[in-house]
């Protein structure tokens, strides 16, 4: 279900970013799906959004988004359907219940009775859940009409976190107020208090989404501990890891203190391993503040950061002033390497938008990441991480503006007819053009003297005699086709230098 949902989201995002109409062919290429799928996706989106179509189609032009409806749709997109669960939602809820109580078995009757489904559906659900759990190295066991999930505690927590989408979408400021989340209010307040204590103790702030990550970890810890005695955990931590942790005089005491607070809050004791679990989250988080502003990095962090900067500089074909980005990026890479080590995955909720907005940069980062994980012998760097790194390089591109504006003249017969109209349209859609003037075609002899530095002429009339300045004939309508040709011309000018 998620891949279809993602495709719908990608399609909507792409349309929302596009000017005017987009042909179905473009959509096929962009989404890398068949024509048929595009039609079906659009139909499904429009069917689901009942009031009036979200995506407008027009014969011969293609598709375009009804913005007003789209904004409305985004606002109302938090599904709040009650008592009506799709098969995948049903499986998710059942799996969550099993995970929280693992390794305790629960009767099938208890698990499924709310959903009024037959034996064949139950059997089918078991198969699907079992497949899903394999990804986390967990096993779904059936015994005497009971189900249980078996495996290591680390894996169980990870599965809980990933199956519960709420943890990916919450906003920390929203936690206290949002009733729809169905969180235990007391737990939420307690954990937020603990987060504040961590930040205060270390004199830092933990930015989004790392704060959410720690929140989710603690929330799951509370829910788990109430269901199952922690003594049942079978996980073992290598002694070397433990000694390393205890040597960390900054984060280790904090982790210990927080776990202690949780024991008091729960009024029951927790396994020692909880300190280690929390410690892993802390070293994997990005922190902002005096402690975080490190200027000394380990050799590995420096090398990896440098490799990213060099790789991206080559890929993008631009000089990257390494000072401007190094320390920021290194401060990101440092906890990232810990995350890779501890196999902690942070959901990047902006990922789909990043992919659409900075398609090219993201592609480059993915490439460089592959190279880096090979060279430095690191675990594979996932798309969520690549998305974060993309933002650092996208920022470099935006702030350095390595593409200087192109000095452009706009021309028609009178200099105030279609050319003025064109100017208004062009300046809105092509901010990279600096429109120096709007001129009449009769006066083109004096163009060279007056605008010696002009690099491009956009004209709605055919320019007969040779003008040395590159020019492009466009229609006064400034159609999609015109825009594309102009885009190509701009690229030509940039690359011709």
């Amino acid at each position: 279900m998620s891949s279809k949902y993602n495709r719908e989201q990608d399609l909507l995002l792409f349309l929302s970013k596009s000017q005017g109409y987009v042909t179905s062919k473009e959509l096929v290429e962009k989404l890398n799906v068949s024509q048929k799928t595009v039609y079906r996706l659009i139909k499904d989106i429009n069917d689901e959004y009942m009031d009036s179509p979200l995506i407008i189609s027009e014969r011969g032009r293609g598709y375009s988004l009804d913005y007003e409806n789209f904004i409305h749709y985004q606002k109302s997109n938090n599904p709040s359907k009650e008592n009506q669960f799709s098969p995948s939602e049903r499986r998710k809820r059942i799996m969550e219940e099993l995970l929280l109580s693992s390794p305790k078995p629960i009767t099938i009757y208890h698990l499924f009775s709310d959903y009024y489904v037959g034996d064949s559906v139950i059997f089918n659900d078991e198969q699907i859940m079992s497949e899903e759990l394999k990804k986390y190295n967990l096993v779904l066991e059936r015994k005497d009409r009971k189900l249980a999930i078996l495996g290591e505690e680390v894996d169980i927590r990870k599965a809980i976190k990933h199956t519960n989408e709420i943890f990916n979408t919450i906003d920390i400021d929203d936690l206290k107020r949002n009733q729809e989340l169905h969180f235990n209010k007391h737990d939420v307040l307690f954990i937020l208090g603990q987060l504040r204590q961590i930040e205060k103790g270390l004199d830092i702030t933990i930015p989004y989404p790392y704060n959410i990550n720690i929140f989710s970890h603690l929330y799951i810890l509370l829910s788990r501990s109430r269901k199952v005695s922690t003594l049942l955990f079978s996980d073992k931590v290598p002694t070397e890891e433990m000694t390393n942790m205890k040597r960390d005089m900054t984060l280790y005491p904090v982790a210990k203190e927080i776990v202690n607070n949780i024991q008091n809050y729960l009024n029951s004791s927790l396994a020692d391993i909880e300190v280690y679990f929390l410690y892993q989250y802390l070293v994997s988080s990005r922190m902002q503040g005096s402690l975080a502003r490190t200027t000394t990095f380990s050799a590995e962090v420096i090398d990896v950061t440098q490799a990213y900067i060099e790789g991206m500089s080559i890929y993008l074909g631009i000089e990257i002033e390494s000072q401007s980005i190094f320390s920021e990026l290194a401060n990101h890479i440092k906890p990232m390497l810990n995350r890779l080590d501890y196999n902690i995955r942070i959901k990047n909720s902006l990922l789909s938008q990043i992919k659409v907005m900075y398609d090219d940069v993201f592609h480059g980062v993915t490439h460089v990441s592959e190279f880096i994980s090979k060279t430095f012998n690191l675990p594979a760097i996932n798309d969520d991480e690549n998305g974060f790194i993309t933002l650092y390089f996208a920022k470099v591109i935006v702030t350095t503006q390595y593409q200087r504006p192109i000095k452009t003249l706009i021309m028609c017969t009178t200099g105030i007819g279609t050319s003025e109209l064109l100017k208004a349209k062009v300046s809105r859609k092509f901010p990279e053009l600096e429109i120096v003037d709007v001129v009449a075609s009769q006066n083109r002899q004096m163009l060279k003297e007056k605008y010696s530095d002009a690099e491009l002429i956009l004209s709605t009339v055919h320019i007969k005699d040779e003008v040395t300045i590159p020019s492009l004939l466009v229609s006064a309508m400034f159609t999609i086709d015109d825009q594309k040709r102009l885009q190509r011309k701009i690229e030509e000018i940039y690359h011709g230098q």
């Binding site: 017969t413 009178t414 279609t418 100017k423 208004a424 709605t460 229609s475």
Partner: protein
């Protein structure tokens, strides 16, 4: 009628071809000078040859600058029936806005005209113009510029 103003608005015009429209506009600006009319029509045709002046579906914006024009005008023509075939490529024209600029016109007027054309870049505004069929409403909508 605001004869001294920049705008000339004609609604419900029974014109059926491009030639009709150009002749009509030349009538407006040159009144009874036949020779000058011909020059103006010719200029329109020349301009059209250099590049289409279709600015949006159903809307033409022919424009010329000429020493045969005494006063600059924007002539708005709301056709009674669409001109189905303006030329080979241009079909179904419903609204024509001609800009007839006097040669060496002063900057004040030029600015006004430029403001008007810029406003046409807004699709919503253009769509609204397309739906108006009363002269006064048209005038109200255009007066802003």
């Amino acid at each position: 009628m605001d004869n001294n103003g920049l705008y000339r608005i004609y609604v419900n015009c029974e014109l059926t071809s491009k030639e009709d429209v150009y002749t009509f506009m030349s009538d407006v600006v040159c009144q009874d000078d036949l020779a000058q009319k011909e020059v103006v029509v010719n200029q329109f045709n020349q301009r059209e040859k250099a590049g289409s002046t279709l600015i949006a579906d159903h809307v033409m914006l022919p424009h010329i600058e000429s020493n045969h024009i005494k006063n600059s005008h924007i002539i708005v023509i709301r056709l009674a029936k669409p001109i189905l075939s303006w030329d080979e490529e241009t079909k179904d024209i419903r609204l024509v806005m001609g800009i007839l600029l006097k040669e060496h016109e002063n900057v004040e007027i030029k600015k006004k005209i430029a403001m008007f054309t810029r406003s046409l870049a807004h699709e919503d505004y253009l769509n609204r113009l397309l739906t108006i069929s009363e002269r006064d409403t048209f005038y109200q909508a255009l007066k802003k510029f």
